[in-house]
Amino acid sequence: MTSAIALRQITKRFIDHRPPALSGVNLDVLPGTCTALLGPSGSGKSTILRIIAGLEDPSGGRILLGGRDITDVLPEKRNVGLVFQRPLLFPHLSVIDNVAFADRAAGQTRRQARDRARPYLDMVQLGDLGDRGVGSLSGGQEQRVAIARALAAQPTILLLDEPFSALDATLRHEMHELLLRIRRELSPTILMVTHDRDEATVVADRIAVLENGQLLQHDTVDRVYHRPASLDVARLMGGENVVSGVVRGGVHHSGLGAVPVDESAEEGPGALVFRHESAGLIPGHASPAPAGALHATVVAVIRSGLRQRATVRVGTELLQVEVPGTMTVTAGDAVTIILPEQILWVVAT
């Protein structure tokens, strides 16, 4: 299948920037999918969106949309939708005229454009606010209108540049539901920039992890979390447990002891990684220890809302494990940590 978006060796240098903002980025986004571009600030993720949109020119490389090279096409001719972090609704136009803007710019009459805009306003559940001025909207409503405005232009791809990061948690949750509904109804191709891992998990099928202008990994949500391509990806995805050791004959040897790992693990030095959310913890030293279980001692416990995070010592290693809030654990307790083989992954070092 032809990629909806294909980046080929995209490089971007800014004059006042020593290291390039992007170096040799290759990325393919399949039609109808949603990919989250995840990375710390300054990693170049917004620059990728702006280059696809045509608002920045790449210093090198090509951009293909649906197989067509658009590297030299003006932004307004690319038929790309972009929703910015700030809604940027036109202050001199009403809500409906904002949504109708693309059709008006394409030369349609005011009435035609408004008629075509209405379904999109309905889709974002603001159908009855069309005649309002944009100044009267709340932050969440503004961003809904911005999304409707971008969709009404019927773009071949939709780019979202941290569109919900200025909203509070409740509104953000509502916007995620809205985005999922839009995906169900219109199945647009979406590339979304975010620095919020949870957001990426909720709305996207795939995650592209970016740091220092380099694409570190582009894979399904699950694989990026559990099968990081590098320790950098593991760290950026919030992986807390990294145990260095050596793989010999399908077994990882480290301060934890000998832990059997997947056959695909390369022989030689490698770091064992696993998600603190996926590991299990049971009180007491189960004996005999079941498969994938290790005896541990609780070092510290930190509560966070209804969850708690335990730091436990196994052998010479300290590990992080997430524990249900209902479980009583205190420092000094003897516990057993469960590490099923399918949650373990070895990154060659």
Partner: protein, 295 residues
């Protein structure tokens, strides 16, 4: 002793109300020049024009000055309105275009902005002098274009006041561009990208985003330009013809005239010019109310 002691213990945080009172007082003192010119100057012009403030002779209320200047005044008003309207129209079109180019950014946009700022800083009299050197029938432009002096139209001191209008349009288009671009640079530039992403071409963005958002600043600066060009003296005096005279030229000539009645006539012209200016302000206020859909 007592007072020194008090000063020694000066309150580190003086009463904010007192501080504000001081600032207010300073501001009122600072307003004196404005009050002298606006209230005093305008008031004395009106009084002079109706004979209540004569240079010499008895104080006598009359509208003689208005009546005696009336015949010449009509053609003067026409001339001044033509110069002001034509200059303002050209300045609006070129000024708005310049602002759009500057706001759109890029290296050329920055160069246009810089050279526009230089133009604003050129005194009008100097602008008139250089326009004369450029547009006269032996000027630099006919030389550059290789047109003979006899074939060159009378732009300086000609029937259509072309050199005068060109000077005003030149300086004031830069002024309008500066005001519009200055007040809008950040606010409008941010809407340029979303508009482009929605498929609006450069022309559509100018028409659908830039102009509506620039309208208030455009109206204000255009009104200032209209009033300035309506009553400006030196450019029309240097580059214009001797008859018909624009309002300012006629008023200054009468002001410097030796005959006694001419001072009152000069004041009458000034009052009429102010009246036209205030009418322009009123029109602008209505236009503002219609266009001020955003702030």
């Amino acid at each position: 002793m007592g007072s020194r002691g008090k000063r020694g213990m000066a309150n580190p945080n003086p009463d904010p109300v007192n501080r504000l009172r001081g600032a207010r007082l300073l501001l009122i003192v600072g307003m004196i020049p404005v009050v002298v010119v606006v209230v005093g100057g305008l008031g004395s012009t009106i009084l002079q024009s109706i004979g209540l403030m004569p240079l010499v002779g008895p104080v006598r209320l009359s509208v003689d000055a208005y009546v005696s200047t009336a015949p010449a005044l009509l053609s003067s008003i026409g001339t001044s309105l033509w110069i002001a309207a034509a200059s303002t129209a050209v300045a609006i079109v070129l000024g708005a275009t310049t602002a759009f180019v500057v706001v759109s950014g890029g290296r050329l946009g920055r160069i246009v902005g810089a050279i526009g700022a230089v133009t604003v800083s050129v005194p009008h009299l100097i602008g008139a002098a250089t326009m004369g050197l450029l547009l006269a029938d032996s000027g630099v432009l006919p030389r550059l274009l290789g047109i003979d002096a006899t074939a060159w139209p009378a732009l300086v001191a000609g029937p259509w006041w072309v050199a005068v209008i060109a000077e005003y349009a030149w300086k004031e288009s830069a002024f309008i561009a500066l005001v519009v671009a200055g007040t809008l640079l950040t606010r409008v530039a941010q809407f340029d990208e979303p508009a482009a992403m929605l498929g609006a071409s450069r022309g559509a963005r100018l028409r659908m985003v830039f102009l509506p958002l620039a309208a208030p600043a455009l109206i204000v600066s255009a009104t200032i330009v209209f009033i300035y060009t309506l009553g400006s003296y030196e450019v029309a005096w240097l580059l214009g013809r001797t008859y018909p005279e624009p309002l300012a030229v006629m008023a200054i000539r009468l002001f410097n005239d030796v005959s006694l009645s001419s001072r009152t006539e000069s004041a009458a012209i000034a009052v009429l010019t102010v009246a036209i200016s205030l009418a322009a302000v009123a029109v602008a206020a209505v236009a503002m109310r219609r266009s001020a859909v955003w702030r």
